[in-house]
């Protein structure tokens, strides 16, 4: 990877079934991630993906670009907009884009952009990959 490289966009489909599976795998069983009733009762537009689910998709894109797991040294983001996941078979698409900002001996700095529709769902997502 070289400074200025634009990394190929990764698009991931998220369904309610994925969220249920992630709830089990992660231990985060907050009902706003699987119950329409609870999600709307706290003012959400519907069931939303775990913020950490979306962050995991960003990490998955990084693994793809880096050619495998275990290369991420730093990973950070803010959770700015919820990813609303409809109760259908199509789900919703989350897109992860990345640009190489700097390459040093300390690592490869990657600025990410994670979107769902027109919304940037993560704030200032970025990572450092092993050099």
């Amino acid at each position: 990877m070289q400074t200025g490289d634009v990394l190929p966009e990764q698009a991931y489909t998220v369904t309610r079934a994925d969220l249920v599976r992630y709830a089990g795998a992660s231990g985060d069983r907050n009902p706003i991630h699987w119950s329409q009733r609870v999600a709307t009762s706290v003012g959400l537009p519907g069931v939303i993906a775990h913020g950490m689910y979306t962050m995991a998709l960003a990490a998955r894109a990084l693994d793809t670009w880096a050619g495998g797991t275990g290369k991420v040294r730093e990973l950070s983001c803010k959770f700015t907009k919820p990813v609303v996941v409809p109760d259908d078979d199509e789900g919703v698409v989350v897109r992860v884009n990345g640009t190489v900002k700097q390459v040093t001996d300390a690592g490869v700095q990657v600025a990410l952009e994670v979107t769902c529709g027109d919304d940037k769902v993560l704030g200032a997502p970025k990572a450092v990959l092993e050099a």
Binding site: G51, L57, T69, V72, C77
Partner: protein, 144 residues
């Protein structure tokens, strides 16, 4: 009601050791549409251990957090090494910062994740936003 104002600087007891098995890593990877190739666990896998530490904080009755009003504002991982199958991981959470903004408590936490030898694996920084009761129908901000 705001949380205990003396919370900043407090370190909570470490979580019980969590054994990273191939099945757990495989299931975590599959949940995010990925697959486990036998190498390192996915980068965000340590949240499973950090989440245990955060649950300890959120469920401590003396802290005063109402769980349904907590949203996850920000997350950062800094890795010393990747997590691998066979690791026995423990997380020890410290509240680094506590601020009040617009009736919400902004709780900055740091969970030091170590292996069975006590050596560092990863530090997970989570910012938790504990909204005031009047914000129950507020749909702005982060996600729990």
């Amino acid at each position: 009601m705001p949380v205990d104002p003396t919370l900043a600087g407090r370190t909570f007891p470490p979580t019980a050791a969590y054994t990273v098995t191939e099945e757990r890593v495989r299931e975590f990877a599959a949940a995010t549409g990925s697959s486990y190739d036998g190498g390192a666990a996915p980068a965000t896998f340590p949240i499973v251990v950090a989440f245990g530490a955060m649950t300890g904080l959120m469920e401590d009755p003396e802290v005063g957090i109402a769980l349904h009003r907590v949203v996850h504002g920000e997350q950062r991982f800094s890795y010393t090494r990747p997590v691998v199958v066979g690791d026995e991981l423990t997380a020890e959470l410290t509240v680094d910062t506590l601020r009040q903004i617009g009736g919400a408590d902004i709780i900055g936490t740091r969970s030091e994740i170590t292996d069975a030898d006590g050596k560092p694996v990863c530090t997970a920084f989570a910012t938790l936003v504990h909204r005031g009761p009047s914000d129950d129908n507020d749909d702005t901000g982060g996600e729990a």
